[in-house]
């Protein structure tokens, strides 16, 4: 078979780029000849596709994986990995500026080195790409194809001139930035998460359009790195759908960092004026303009369903929700499943992973595992982080479930106080009169780590009373969970004493 298409973004002079591409899309890669009918053909080499391909190979099945660009998907290449690395660097700069809070003199001559920060990001990406390299997959028994995949019928996919026939297929093509149509934006130019991590210099002034998780994370990070950041959010609060108090603390935190916040504000037009981009905004009926050097847009996501010729495979989809699947993640073609961003409401790498596991069981092991049975946590990696799992109170009340919320303020948690991490709270929602945990929200510097304990509890049916009997290491910030359990215990004592 011939060479795959040349990978996009390959920079032969950069050793990290050389390693990343050697792992994620070897420039001289030759697609293998098809080995008859595959037990599973996977479209997309992101977190879902990689897990499914490796899993199928481990089961001894004949499996092919098709990736259009880089293995690792959005997560490794332009999503979680680079953004969290950038956030960590930005957080350190912020901590140095506030060293006095911890009784430490502020370091003198703190210089922000953006090229070095970006070099570190590229290096980390290269390092992490080793785990799922094309060569390693091949060794594992996965036939790896690079190229654009298209369905050639209900049981066949074509890629780079080859036709792969399958018993089962998994579509895991992920998602891409969703850019709202704004007059003049295309002509003026903008960043998305697909190119923001490749910058070589910091913009002096940056407008972030959208106050969802990615918008808030990057607004804070760039502000901490030294840009004057303006964030425009159409809604009255950040992170729509999240706990109102969590969104308020985030808003306070962004303001504390120096982000210029415009809530209830729409971006209506953009135009170039020399090197600047002039952006027209409207808040209520009032219009105003800001001048910036760069614009970060596309902080939402849209599923990659185009160019797959899903019609040929009789797979139903729409461009908003993506591929239509049932609770077993099966599409309208019984041979074909979908996983990850291309079909899920929750577009997280860990959901891609979980849904791929579910597909492995259902497609290859006659399983009947349901998407609706999953307990799904998520986290926004601002500072403080905002993590959630399970139901929100409003969701419970909509189902006529009475709720009591046990709230612990991080300023009452010893370890948070000693660490100077006092902003935030833990809220655990239980079914009123019981210790059944319905959901939880954590706003804390390490909320993403803390939410996992509660995810385990909900998944395993462990109640708040039982969590209270678990010895938590002291002092840790996760002790907040124990404190909430103690508060619950006191309410039971009160009931018992009546």
């Amino acid at each position: 078979m011939g060479h795959a298409e040349a990978p996009v973004g390959f920079e032969p002079g950069d050793p990290d780029s050389v390693e990343l591409f050697a792992n994620a899309h070897p420039p001289l890669w030759r697609n293998p000849p098809p080995r008859g009918t595959y037990d599973l053909v996977v479209l997309g080499g992101g977190p879902a596709g990689l897990l499914a391909a490796r899993g199928a190979a481990t089961l001894g099945r004949k499996v092919a994986l098709i990736e259009r660009n880089l293995l690792g998907g959005n997560c490794l290449n332009d999503g979680c990995v680079p953004s969290k690395a950038l956030i960590r660097s930005a957080q350190l700069y912020a901590r140095m500026r506030e060293a006095q809070v911890l009784g430490v003199p502020q370091p003198r001559d703190v210089r922000i080195d953006v090229p070095e920060t970006m070099r570190r990001i590229r290096h980390l990406q290269a390092r992490l790409s080793r785990a799922d390299s094309a060569q390693r997959l091949l060794t594992h028994g996965v036939d790896v194809y690079f190229g654009a995949a298209r369905f050639a019928g209900p049981a066949a996919v074509s890629v780079a001139g080859a036709t792969l026939r399958f018993k089962k297929a998994l579509v895991a093509t992920g998602s891409r930035p969703l850019v709202t149509a704004i007059a003049g934006l295309d002509a003026a130019g903008y960043w998305t998460n697909e190119n923001v991590f490749k910058l070589s210099a910091l913009p002096r002034r940056l407008l972030v359009i959208g106050g969802g998780p990615l918008g808030c994370e990057l607004a804070q990070a760039f502000c901490r790195l030294g840009s004057h950041v303006i964030i425009a959010q159409d809604d009255p609060m950040f992170l729509p759908g999240e706990e109102r108090d969590a969104a308020q603390i985030l808003s306070d935190s962004l303001a504390h960092d120096g982000v210029e916040i415009h809530l209830n504000t729409q971006v209506v037009a953009v135009r170039k004026a020399g090197e600047q981009k002039v952006v027209d905004l409207v808040s209520d009926e009032s219009g105003f303009s800001v001048s910036v050097d760069e614009i970060l847009a596309g902080t939402g996501r849209t599923p990659n369903v185009e160019d797959l010729d899903l019609e040929a495979a009789q797979v139903e989809y729409d461009t908003t929700a993506g591929i239509h699947v049932n609770d077993f993640l099966r599409t309208t073609n019984a041979r074909i499943y979908a996983a990850g961003d291309v079909c899920l409401e929750h577009r997280f790498a860990h959901m891609a992973d979980a849904s791929a596991r579910l597909v492995l069981h259902n497609a290859l092991m006659r399983g009947r595992r349901r998407l609706s049975a999953l307990t799904v946590p998520w986290c926004t990696y601002t500072d403080p982080e905002i993590a959630h799992v399970g139901m929100y109170v409003r969701e419970a009340r909509e189902q006529a479930i009475p709720v009591e919320t046990f709230t612990i303020l991080m300023h009452d948690v010893d370890r948070a106080v000693t660490d100077g991490d006092e902003a935030g709270f833990l809220k655990i929602h239980v079914k009123d009169g019981t210790d059944q945990i319905l959901g939880a929200t954590i706003v804390a510097r390490h909320a993403g780590e803390m939410i996992n304990e509660l995810t385990v509890a909900i998944s395993a049916g462990i109640g708040l009373a039982e969590l209270g009997r678990v010895i938590h290491a002291y002092p840790t910030q996760a002790e907040a969970i124990k404190m909430a359990a103690d508060a619950y215990f006191l309410t039971r004592l009160k009931v018992a004493s009546r």
Partner: protein, 430 residues
């Protein structure tokens, strides 16, 4: 004045009277409008007018105003609102029976491009209905008050105010339509929903109250279980007119509590927050508390004693999530009298003893901030006085002393009907 020697009753009388005098001083006799604040050029606030209409009734009962003078004040006010322009024009006084939040003191027309405010219209109507119940004689002026109060209430189009949403909208502007957010979480809007639900003319969908209460959060904070809302005023304002003690809607039946008891717990949580004082604000303590919506030092960041602190202007400060910039609302402390008299009195005596410069006129400012140094231990103090603060002080002290407003509003058929339609039962409601 010697605050320490004053009996509790004398102390309350002095502060209540001083608050009442705000409405004597800050009103326009030609149209009954009352200024939002004592600051030069301040417009009228329709919510303050609502508190004024109720305060006149208190003034009569306390002997501070004759019944005739009070009726005359009420009548000129209600006539203005009935006859003022109701249209979608940007400089009208109101629309669909609601009124713009801020009006020009002279012309009575909309200023500051303010919103048509549902909640502030609710407070205005509560004041009008209070007067309508109180002035019950056969005298023509009192009969007119009753007719006008009822007509103003019946004119309000609550159906329109839903704007197609499940709950009532917060506001509307002729330039941009409804605010695209509604009421979420417990708030001061209880009286708004009660008035809306009882409307014989334009009642909203009957499930709008349930849709609102579905957003409530019952929280356990500092080992107190209560219906959470951060700023203290939320736990006070609707209670100025409605006696919630012992009456329960579906939510409170589920929690085996009521909104009166809940406000008492909110006070307790406020005091506990101030005692713990997580942000090391100067002055805070179990007798010095009260984070609420009030005036502040202005938006700025200052380094104080080596630490950076952010300050805010007028803002809805709240516990436990903030914002907390060290600014306290003394009016909120005093207006908590009905829910926790010992705590509110202790706070008032603390204010008098510790900050005599601030309390010597017996009238409380909107905010003060001992963390931000000023002239004296009270630190920064809000300039002048705000009508809302004075209004809630007059009414809540009166409810503590005689339950006057609560007793009057029990006789208002719209209040009873609205409460019943919201699902309240028990105590005085039957």
């Amino acid at each position: 004045m010697n605050d320490e020697r004053d009996s509790d009753e004398a102390l309350l009388e002095r502060f209540q009277r001083a608050a009442f005098e705000y409405f004597v001083e800050a009103w326009n006799p030609t149209n009954g409008l009352v200024a939002d604040t004592t600051r030069a050029g301040a417009p009228a606030s329709i919510a303050v007018v609502g508190f004024a209409l109720s305060s006149y009734v208190v003034g009569v009962e306390r002997g501070w105003l004759s019944r005739h003078d009070a009726a005359a004040r009420v009548l000129v006010t209600l006539r203005f609102f009935w006859n003022s322009t109701q249209s979608g024009s940007p400089d009208a006084t109101g629309y669909k029976g609601f009124y713009y939040h801020f009006l020009d003191m002279g012309s009575g027309r909309r200023v500051w491009q303010s919103e048509l405010s549902m909640i502030d219209s609710g407070f205005l109507l509560a004041g009008a209905l209070t007067a309508g119940v109180y002035f019950d004689s056969d005298a023509e002026e009192e009969a007119q008050i009753r007719r006008l109060a009822d007509a103003l209430y019946r004119r309000v189009d609550w159906q329109w105010a839903q704007g197609g949403a499940a709950t009532l909208r917060q506001g509307w502007k002729p330039e941009s339509g409804f605010f695209h957010y509604g009421w979420e979480g417990y708030s001061e809007a209880a009286i708004l929903y009660v008035l809306a639900l009882a409307s014989p003319t334009f009642a909203p969908a009957h499930n709008c109250y349930a849709a609102w209460t579905a957003t409530y959060q019952w929280e356990n904070i500092y080992d107190y279980e209560f219906l959470y809302a951060g700023p203290l005023f939320i736990h006070l304002f609707s209670h100025a007119w409605i006696d919630f003690a012992g009456i329960r809607d579906k939510f409170m039946r589920e929690k085996r509590s009521d909104y009166f008891e809940n406000s008492g717990r909110a006070v307790a949580v406020q005091r506990e927050f101030a005692r713990r004082n997580p942000h090391d604000c100067i002055g805070y303590g179990a007798d010095c508390w009260g984070l609420s919506a009030n005036d502040g030092p202005g938006l700025k960041t200052l380094t104080i004693d080596g630490f950076e602190r952010r300050f805010f202007g007028y803002a809805a400060r709240g516990i436990p999530y903030g914002p907390d910039d060290g600014t306290l609302a003394p009016a909120a402390m005093l207006a908590s009298m009905p829910f926790d008299p010992p705590a509110a009195l202790a706070a008032l005596r603390m204010l008098c003893a510790r900050y005599p410069q601030m309390t010597q006129a017996s009238r409380l400012p909107s905010g003060f901030n001992p963390t931000l140094r000023g002239e004296g231990p009270q630190g920064w103090v809000s300039e002048g006085y705000f009508g809302l603060d004075q209004g809630v002080i007059v009414l809540m002290i009166e409810n503590h002393r005689s339950q006057l407003l609560w007793k009057l509003m029990r006789r208002c058929p719209h209040i009873g009907e609205g409460l019943r339609r919201a699902g309240f039962r028990g105590a005085w409601l039957g």
